[in-house]
Symmetry: C2
Subunit: 219 residues, 2 copies
Amino acid sequence: MAGFVVHGVPGSPYVRAALLVLEEKSAEYHLAALQLGTLKQEPHLSRHPFGRIPAFEHDGWMLYETQAILRYVDTIVPEPRLQPVDPRAAARMNQVMGITDWYVMPQISRTITFNRVVAPRFGRPVNEEAVKEAIPDARHCIGELARLLDGHDWMAGATLSLADLQLAPHLSMLALAPEGAEILTAHPNLKGWLVRMEARRSMQATTWDRLLDQVKSAA
Amino acid sequence: MAGFVVHGVPGSPYVRAALLVLEEKSAEYHLAALQLGTLKQEPHLSRHPFGRIPAFEHDGWMLYETQAILRYVDTIVPEPRLQPVDPRAAARMNQVMGITDWYVMPQISRTITFNRVVAPRFGRPVNEEAVKEAIPDARHCIGELARLLDGHDWMAGATLSLADLQLAPHLSMLALAPEGAEILTAHPNLKGWLVRMEARRSMQATTWDRLLDQVKSAA
């Protein structure tokens, strides 16, 4: 298939990050929606041998790993630039992208968000104990993100970057959980950042419901 | 402290990746060695609030997250360049860096390498069951890295990149485990890559024993 294709399950924060960068670039793309239960089988394993999402296609050339996809799209579609030129601003961007993968995903999204936001929607059982146990680490992680943001509008400083686009889908879902909303309340700067992110056309075009509607109307 | 400082525990593949990029740049740096038991306490938590390694300093400016450190050093010390200009070569580099974090670390280094190489050295108990259970995923992960390397000398293509420097410390240790050596045998191209990596001055300057010797002679 020609152009950009994102293979993934609507609702995944990583899939949404890939869509966000395409939306911010005003690039045309196709979301090839998958069912959650089909990731560990063909044809998806040929796209992503570890059976995760998103998998990405550009004129038939295949790529997986979300950070690699975000960086590739930013290079291929130059405007607006989403990686700062200043080395220390770029380092903050890369650091927040790393924090998202190493801490936000396991300590927040797989615990609080999965059980409060994802599991109910898929009719899966909710692990109350896992939510409760995750709160101290989640609070710590959110506190550190707020510290890194301090004094800036965006994660890498004065302008929107890939770090904002990778992180926002996670925190947008966290805010839907009562525990998440409560944790975010302690950090008005991070809450303000999330409000600015949610107001962007890219975020509004990629809500879970919007993606499901698109998939349905394309079917 | 002026210049580049890497705070970390000798033997950590992530610390070694940071040292490798500094060595490849022929940059002067100081390894501030830490004991494994002191990462979750001050002063380290002020450097790295998640209590991991490495933490990095450049003229007193602090940074953590290994990928961010590697990319920062590559920008600050331009020669030799360690990130390809070609967007698809850069994407392969970023993909392999992602695979190292998402799959090599949890599926190989925390399982086979930890139990066969790290635990015995620290006098910790060896979990034989964990080694045995890890083999299918480790085999799959190594197979995928060999597939991505196919036809190239280095992970991103024709020239050494940050991906080689991030991955090599993990596979160098894996090869010391009998199970790891056996898994690597199936992929002569990846074994050849590891031989080329081990022959580099940067790798030889940063072996576990060399780092411990340096720390001892500095004390």
